[in-house]
């Protein structure tokens, strides 16, 4: 380092100090270092405990190396199999060797994976493994046929071959009710096996209905809040936000007590003679709509109210003074100004609704479950993580698509929402 880099306090003739352009200022280097030191721990924590698990989970939608792990030699031997003729003895020997040597857990995973694509494969593979382990010298294609005669079925070998790749489109296709046909083309699964498109559409429809209901309810509420006196505004806001603070579980139990067949609403209606037998209000779609609107309404009211507050009263007055009719004033003067708030509120409501789980579970019926339910189901009960991941990927894709659309929506002036 040159002398110029260290200012010499005792040198009173330091007038000739060169112009050290690159000398670090008092706020230069160390400050950035401190900044990184503050952000980094949290950043690492989030990357390891939040981003990485989700990325890994989503990767299970296409990454499925179970067969490759359990049966590596077979996968290698089948690489140049021509698909139409029965497999050679070399392939069969590789499979026999793999089955003998495979770890039990790995083999079970591979068997489960193969069974998704062809039912019965799991039992056949495990049975064959037992057989070849018992008879020491078994070799060749015939030995497999002895263990399980269905090895003669070439479709089974084709499944084995395609599942041998570490990457698969199987789960994603399944999540969209599609399948790969034997000829390699992609087509819809037969109607009796189709399940997920209905669920996806149901999720979207339910969220749309809830969003629209919230929008209609939020409008008068936001308008009333925004045009109230400051003191009353605070009170109204507090009341709107009160349910926010009350556990979802508490609210769900309230709806059950109120809406069930012998609940308060039905009892009251019966006593008043309006109905003669209980109406089903819960554990069906009605219940889910009521519950979700109750949960999500504040998310809609907040941004719209903020947007409305930002609109000077004079604008609408000016429109009226210039002779505009009420609808014209509303649509041409008022709505364009609160549009950012409406867009933000609708997006927020829709996005939160799409991913909802607990409320439909507690106060919906079987036909009202959304994507989340099936993700949970395939994780916990059916233990098909690949499919759970593929469904999660679909959910994430829907959300990202919506946020992307929102980013494209033109926003006039400054965003008033969220302030």
């Amino acid at each position: 380092m040159s002398d110029a880099a260290t200012p010499n306090p005792s040198d009173s003739s330091s007038l000739q100090l060169g112009p050290p352009k690159a000398r670090p200022g008092p706020r230069g280097g160390p400050k950035n270092w401190v900044t990184m030191g503050l952000v980094l721990p949290g950043l690492l924590f989030f990357l390891v405990m939040f981003v990485w698990p989700i990325a890994q989970m989503l990767s299970h939608a296409v990454y499925s190396p179970e067969v490759q792990i359990a049966l590596p030699r077979t996968v290698a031997a089948m690489a140049d199999w021509d698909v139409t003729t029965p497999p050679s003895d070399a392939i069969a020997d590789a499979l026999i060797l793999d089955l003998k040597n495979a770890d039990r857990g790995d083999l079970a995973s591979a068997a489960r994976r193969l069974n998704y694509e062809q039912s019965g494969f799991r039992a056949a593979l495990l049975k064959t493994a037992r057989e070849v382990r018992r008879s020491d010298g078994a070799k060749g294609y015939q030995a497999l046929l002895d263990a399980d005669k269905d090895w003669a079925d070439l479709a089974r070998w084709r499944v084995l071959r395609s599942a041998g790749s570490a990457y698969t489109s199987y789960y994603l296709l399944t999540a969209l009710d599609l399948e790969k046909r034997p000829d390699g083309s992609i087509g819809r699964v037969p109607g009796d096996r189709a399940l997920f498109v209905t669920v996806i559409l149901r999720t979207l429809w339910l969220s749309l209905v809830v969003t629209v209901i919230c929008l209609f309810l939020a409008f008068p509420v936001s308008y009333t809040i925004a045009s109230a006196k400051p003191g009353r505004q605070a009170l109204l806001m507090l009341l709107i936000l009160l349910p926010f603070w009350i556990s979802l579980l508490v609210r769900s139990s309230a709806w059950v007590i109120l809406l069930q067949d012998n609940g308060l609403v039905n009892t009251a209606l019966l006593k008043l003679g309006i109905i003669t037998e209980p109406v089903q209000l819960i554990f069906n779609r009605t219940g889910v709509y009521i519950g979700l609107v109750h949960v999500l309404l504040p998310f809609m009211v907040l941004p719209i109210t903020n947007a409305m507050r930002a609109v000077p009263k004079d604008y609408v007055r000016a429109a009226f003074s210039m002779g505009a009719s009420a609808p014209r004033a509303l649509f041409q003067v008022y709505l364009p100004q609160i549009w950012p708030g409406v867009a933000a509120g609708s997006l927020l409501t829709f996005v939160i609704c799409v991913g909802y789980y607990v409320t439909p579970l507690l106060i919906g019926g079987n036909q009202d479950q959304m994507l989340s339910y099936f993700i949970a189901f395939y994780t916990n009960q059916s233990v098909n993580w690949g499919l759970a991941s593929a469904l999660s990927a679909v959910l994430c894709a829907i959300m990202l698509l919506l946020m992307g659309l929102y980013a494209l929506v033109p926003r006039r002036g400054g965003t008033t929402a969220g302030r």
């Binding site: 400050k31 900044t35 503050l38 952000v39 980094l40 721990p41 949290g42 950043l43 924590f45 989030f46 405990m49 939040f50 981003v51 698990p53 989700i54 890994q56 989970m57 309810l217 409008f219 008068p220 509420v221 308008y223 009333t224 109204l236 009341l239 009160l242 349910p243 603070w245 009350i246 556990s247 979802l248 579980l249 508490v250 609210r251 769900s252 139990s253 309230a254 059950v256 007590i257 308060l264 009892t267 109750h294 009226f320 009420a326 996005v351 799409v354 991913g355 909802y356 789980y357 607990v358 507690l362 993700i375 949970a376 994780t379 993580w385 999660s392 959910l395 994430c396 959300m399 946020m403």
Partner: protein, 272 residues
């Protein structure tokens, strides 16, 4: 009366006022209506109640199943909120000091992301991740997950506080001879305290109410209050469930009141 002025908006204002009232009834009445049932002396959740008693609260506070759940919820809620506060406070100060640009936006987006992530996706991914890590069925796993959920509240709240914070105060402190740390500790932190406290309480309430992650990650010893309520609603809806719900309402609304109080006090100090 011939010249009675007609405000073209009045009609709409009345209508929207009426609708607002109905919406408020819809939002609040269900919660209010079930509250008294926790004081019922009977075993059924219906009106009219046979009589008043504290028996369900007694059961709540003596039955191990409920006391353990309350204890678990408290431990998880407090630990995760404190963890979220430490991470969020540091992150917010760091982000605020970063240069505006893509890097800052990405980092901010990452810290906000848990707010927009469906809980089921977090729950499932951590479920798979923890099974490899050996964190499944451990309370630490739940605390970490809840800390991630709570961090965005702290980051948003403290960041907003920092945006309002006048950086000349830090310059002033330094010109008066304060070291960086002395200035942080005696100038910036005290002024940011209300923002930190409200972020902390938000994080606590979020953890206290959270169920999906606990549902996936908890071992049998870590049943929390929301899980007990969940089971109660699904299996046997008795007044003890409502009294537990009342305790949750009390704690949540208490926290909200506290946040409001902290906010008002800090505003009053500024304006007085």
């Amino acid at each position: 009366m011939k010249y009675k002025q007609v405000n073209p908006m009045q009609k709409w204002q009345r209508l929207s006022g009426l609708l607002t009232l109905l919406v408020l009834i819809f939002l609040i009445l269900p919660i209010v209506i079930i509250m008294p049932l926790s004081l019922s002396s009977g075993s059924f959740l219906s009106y009219p109640m046979p009589g008043f008693s504290m028996r369900w609260y007694e059961e709540l506070l003596t039955n191990y199943k409920w006391t353990k759940a309350l204890q678990n919820s408290a431990i998880i809620g407090i630990s995760s909120a404190v963890l979220a506060m430490v991470i969020g406070l540091m992150a917010a100060i760091g982000i605020n000091a970063m240069k505006k640009g893509a890097a800052r936006a990405v980092v901010m987006g990452l810290f906000i992301a848990p707010l927009m992530t469906p809980l089921i996706i977090m729950a499932v991914s951590l479920f798979l991740f923890y099974s490899k890590l050996g964190l499944s069925g451990k309370m630490l796993g739940i605390i970490i997950a809840h800390a991630i959920l709570g961090t965005p509240f702290v980051v948003v709240s403290v960041f907003a506080g920092l945006q309002k914070f006048d950086m000349t105060l830090m310059r002033a402190a330094k010109s008066l001879g304060a070291s960086s740390w002395y200035a942080y500790r005696n100038v910036m932190f005290p002024i940011l305290k209300p923002a930190v406290v409200s972020g902390l309480l938000f994080a606590f309430v979020t953890s206290f109410d959270e169920i999906i992650i606990v549902l996936f990650l908890a071992g049998p010893d870590h049943i929390t209050l929301p899980i007990r309520l969940f089971e109660g609603i699904r299996d046997e809806l008795t007044p003890v469930v409502i009294s537990a719900a009342m305790v949750m309402v009390l704690i949540s609304v208490g926290s909200m009141g506290l946040i409001e109080w902290v906010r008002r006090r800090s505003e009053a100090a500024k304006e007085a």
